[in-house]
């Protein structure tokens, strides 16, 4: 596109071709929460994506409606690294409150774009400064004062596009997509982009090395957040009952699900083939999920830490009375209210054993947006097959941020509705015992309310029950049932998503991780290889109970680093309960839990320290 090329040619005097940093840097946009910067950030991200450059975005926001500082980091990476980068090179400072600290945080030879009157140049003489009169530019193109706050952010998109040599046509089409059905809004916003672009072109001489150049690494890829992906997984799994209580960062799971249901699941007569209920609290949400699962619906809730705590008692009932249901936990920083808008992987242990009494739950651990889709989908099949609540552990980083991904694949297998007896089955069998293991797979047959057979009914209870679902306090009947539940859980090791061997060579050292840690860990492996000449192996765990392969992986390495985003090494602890004693000593932890998504540099440094490199 001519405009981009023009911009580039203008700068060639200042930056030589050799010193250019192309498609490998991070941008930190510092704004005020509630100022409407989200659209601008999204357009900038999609513009880089549109240039064919792998890109990721992270919203580091406060627990606040409006007024507090918020940061959005956009990382362009020709190497395809999408984890958070610890030190973004380019700052866009639009928040006077944090501007001083923001520019002080820049690495040497960084870049700062800021509102002119903040006069940030005074704090750093080792960064390239581009002061922009955002307010003046905005006022000139937007006569309506009340719209200026929103449009102002688009000005920086134009400035950045010009400075980084992003094709203005790509920005335009990204913007058009963003405001698909609102032509006027599009026009106003594009005029702001254009004004920023023109200003930069006229006033600045490019003095920094950062450029976006066209690549072909995003062709066929999609950009989506994990919560939307979970919603899609639920809808393509045929969810029919959704009960939930709003909680950050899981709210958009249900919002996405509800939008899709309205789109795809209304009959020609205008009737819904689904029910979405905003419950009075998380206790009620999980109660509704289990009530619906018991009566035969595919039911789901989505929540986060505090909601999980409230679901404790019902989770035990679901486990013991063997009722299907899907619970998506988008983890945030705990304990208690914690830092609600910051990420962590710290619910693993509590979810694995959620309940009083001896309880173990199936926990699926998606490590990408694609797996948010696939594992949510799988959770419904597993819940009905194994007749138990199934938890999907996502996190804020995965759930609320935009990720580049391969498109999702349509499921190739029919829905697995599990072992349900019909009237015809009962006519043939003459009756059944709800919790009897007739097939040797430790899973009984169930019936649904409304099955028109005199022997169809059974009594579901959280109190002691025998294999015919009758009340019991007999020691042997209680123990027999509890042992069958253990066997059922054991059999789940083979049914749950198996671990992914990312790298398995001949190294003595292995890494284990789960969920969103994957992005940073993959990058770290490359750093370790490049900087320390070490090739280490890596297996990513995708479910609890642990597949046997995980035991084999630990057994075949001398030392295994378990990398996770919590204080107490929860995955390591869970592994220690599962592994033979002689393997346990091999485990050591690399932990990151400050609320920010883990970055590769942190892992690499910690590994080097622990290995004495």
């Amino acid at each position: 596109m001519a405009t981009g090329d023009l911009a580039l040619s203008q700068e060639q005097g200042a930056i030589s071709a050799e010193t250019r940093v192309i498609n490998e840097f991070s941008i930190n946009v510092a704004t005020v929460n509630g100022s409407g910067s989200q659209s601008a950030n999204s357009v900038l991200l999609k513009s880089i994506f549109g240039m064919g450059v792998p890109v990721s975005g992270k919203n580091l926001f406060p627990s606040n409606i409006a007024g507090l500082p918020t940061w959005y980091t956009i990382r362009a990476s020709k190497g395809g690294y999408v984890a958070r980068k610890r030190d973004p090179e380019i700052l866009i400072a639009l928040n006077p409150e944090t501007a001083r600290q923001d520019i002080l945080d820049l690495p040497a030879s960084g870049v700062a774009i800021y509102e002119e009157n903040l006069n940030l140049k005074q704090y750093r003489d080792d960064v390239t400064c581009y002061p922009v009169p955002f307010d003046k530019i905005t006022a000139a193109i937007c006569p309506e004062a009340k719209l200026r706050k929103l449009v102002r952010n688009m000005v920086y998109v134009g400035v950045v596009a010009q400075l980084l040599a992003i094709d203005l046509g790509v920005v335009e089409s990204g913007l058009r997509k963003q405001f698909a059905k609102k032509q006027k809004v599009f026009e106003l916003n594009f005029s702001a982009v254009k004004a920023g672009f023109d200003y930069a072109q006229e006033k600045f001489t490019k003095n920094d090395p950062y450029f976006i150049e066209r690549m072909n690494q995003t062709a066929g890829k999609i950009v989506v957040d994990g919560n939307a992906a979970c919603g899609m997984g639920a809808v393509f799994a045929g969810v029919t009952v959704v009960a939930w209580y709003p909680i950050t960062p899981s709210t958009s799971v249900v919002e996405a699900t509800a939008d899709l249901l309205k789109k795809f699941r209304v009959t020609p007569e205008g009737k819904a083939t689904f029910a979405v209920v905003q419950a009075e609290d998380e206790l009620a949400a999980i109660g509704m999920v289990l009530g619906a699962g018991w009566a035969g619906a595919r039911s789901m809730t989505a929540t986060s830490g505090p909601g999980i705590s409230l679901m404790t008692e019902f989770s035990g009932l679901g486990y013991y009375a063997e009722i299907p249901g899907v619970i998506i936990d988008v983890q945030r920083t705990g304990p208690s209210t914690g830092m609600p808008t910051r990420t962590q992987q710290s619910d693993l242990l509590s979810v694995a054993f959620l309940s009083h009494g001896d309880t173990r739950h199936i926990v699926l651990l998606p490590g990408s947006v694609k797996e948010c889709f696939e594992l949510t989908y799988a959770a419904f099949d597993l819940a009905e097959r194994l007749q138990t609540p199934v938890f999907v552990l996502s996190d804020l980083d995965l759930g609320m941020n935009n990720w580049m991904s391969d498109p999702f694949d349509y499921p190739t297998t029919p829905l697995d509705r599990g072992k349900v007896l019909t009237k015809e089955d009962l006519d043939r069998l003459g009756g059944f015992a709800r919790y009897r293991d007739v097939d040797g797979d430790s899973i009984g047959w169930r019936t649904l309310p409304g099955t028109l057979h005199p022997k169809a009914a059974y009594f579901t209870r959280g109190s002691g029950h025998n294999d015919a679902a009758g009340y019991t306090e007999k020691p042997d009947e209680y123990v027999a049932l509890m042992e069958r539940l253990v066997r059922k859980f054991e059999s789940a090791r083979k049914l749950v998503p198996q671990p992914v061997i990312v790298k398995d060579g001949s190294s003595k050292i292995g890494f284990l991780a789960f969920g969103s840690t994957d992005f940073a860990l993959r990058e770290s492996l490359d750093q370790i290889s490049k900087e320390h000449g070490q090739s280490v192996d890596y297996m990513r765990i995708r479910a609890y109970p642990f597949a046997h392969e995980i035991h084999d992986f630990v057994a075949s390495h001398e030392r295994v680093y378990v990398v996770e985003q919590n204080r107490d090494g929860q995955l390591a602890s869970l592994l220690k309960l599962d592994l033979p004693a002689e393997q346990v000593v091999k485990l050591r932890s690399i932990l990151h839990y400050n609320g920010l998504p883990v970055d590769a540099r942190t892992i690499t440094e910690e590994f080097a320290t622990k290995e004495g490199l």
Binding site: A284, G291, A295, A457, F459
Partner: protein, 349 residues
């Protein structure tokens, strides 16, 4: 009874779907002999039998407590879910969302409802969830041996001599205010009133909230208790006499006197409420609540149908779901086609 017909000369009576009452029975009760709850179970059996409800089309729900055990003592041919303490409303909501074609009856107690379960109870009422919600109300915790519950009346005395110094929660007044569309109070010892009320409850579409005073013979049936058999026999003040004629009963209902209030139920049944309290109008919400509040001062325990509204849409109506149960919809209706996913993916590029 007009609803039961003789099966030949010697066989048991069959109802209009051809089932004898024994098909509505449950397991042997493990509650105390003389417990009011057992009488309520009997009335539920009678009502379901006389209304000719197919037992397999019923879901029995409960929470935790003596009352919540009772679904095991009626209707063995119905699916039952004895859930967790105070949470029967949410489990019932889920089950009804999954299959709204069922008749759902929930049995709770005063502790299960008015203390631990209050949060879910009020939201069930607010949603007008189509189900029958019975509080077997004895004012006392039985399984933990005799603590006051939140429905115990002010000044009521425990066996140990402890006096209740907190006001009772009137679950009926609450239910009327919060959106239940059929609200009544009865007494486990009043067979006729309770049976008629239950039959009307089965015919109603929406939340039926019945507070049934059900004396606890072990912990709360002594002198000084306001939930004892004796106290109820002396202080039970029916506000109306309930006559119920089922839709399948071929009985002409005559609408003559100003002393009756006739309600046509949505299934075509008729509910006739003969006024015992002067000018009591069971469709007047504000008056119903005022009448109940005023009765608290007079030591009278009002019983009868306090409020009925047959017009209000239920939660299922509001959700506008398909007629078939969501639980058993075929995959062709619940999983969107590949083209749907392809379109979504194209939009994310």
């Amino acid at each position: 009874m007009a609803t039961a017909i003789a099966n030949g000369a010697t066989g048991p009576k069959l109802n209009h779907i051809g089932l004898p009452v024994v098909e509505y029975r449950g397991g042997k009760s493990t509650l105390c002999a003389g417990c009011g709850h057992n009488a309520i179970s009997e009335r539920i059996i009678d009502a379901m039998f006389e209304m000719g409800v197919q037992p397999e089309r019923v879901m029995k729900m409960s929470g935790i407590g003596c009352s919540s055990k009772s679904p095991a003592y009626f209707m063995n041919r119905s699916h039952s879910f004895n859930s967790v303490h105070g949470r029967m409303p949410s489990v019932s909501t889920g089950a009804i969302l999954a299959n709204h074609t069922m008749t759902t009856i929930g049995v709770s107690g005063d502790g299960d409802t008015a203390s631990i379960g209050m949060g879910q109870f009020v939201h069930l009422l607010r949603r007008n969830l189509p189900m029958i919600y019975i509080i077997e109300d004895n004012g006392v915790y039985g399984l933990t041996k005799g603590q006051f519950s939140a429905t115990a009346d002010l000044g009521s005395k425990l066996k140990t001599g402890v006096i209740n110094d907190l006001p009772a929660i009137d679950t009926c007044a609450l239910a009327i205010q919060l959106g239940a569309t059929f609200v009544g109070r009865s007494f486990s010892g009043d067979k006729k009133q309770l049976l008629a009320m239950l039959k009307a409850a089965i015919a109603h579409k929406g939340t039926v909230m019945l507070d049934v005073i059900s004396p606890c013979v072990t912990f709360n049936d002594h002198e000084g208790s306001t939930k004892s058999y004796k106290f109820m026999q002396e202080n039970d003040e029916p506000i109306n006499e309930i006559g119920f004629v089922a839709s399948f009963d071929d009985i002409e209902v005559d609408y003559d006197s100003g002393q009756v209030y006739d309600v046509e139920m949505h299934d075509g049944s008729s509910l006739r409420l003969r006024k015992l309290l002067e000018d009591y109008d069971p469709t007047d919400k504000a008056n119903a609540v005022r009448t109940l509040m005023e009765s608290h001062a007079s030591n009278e325990i009002l019983t009868g149908v306090f409020y009925i509204n047959t017009e209000q849409p239920t939660f299922i109506d509001l959700l506008n779901v398909v007629d078939e149960p969501l639980a058993t919809l075929p995959e062709s209706l619940t999983r969107p086609p590949k083209s749907a996913l392809d379109a979504l993916m194209a939009n994310l590029r």
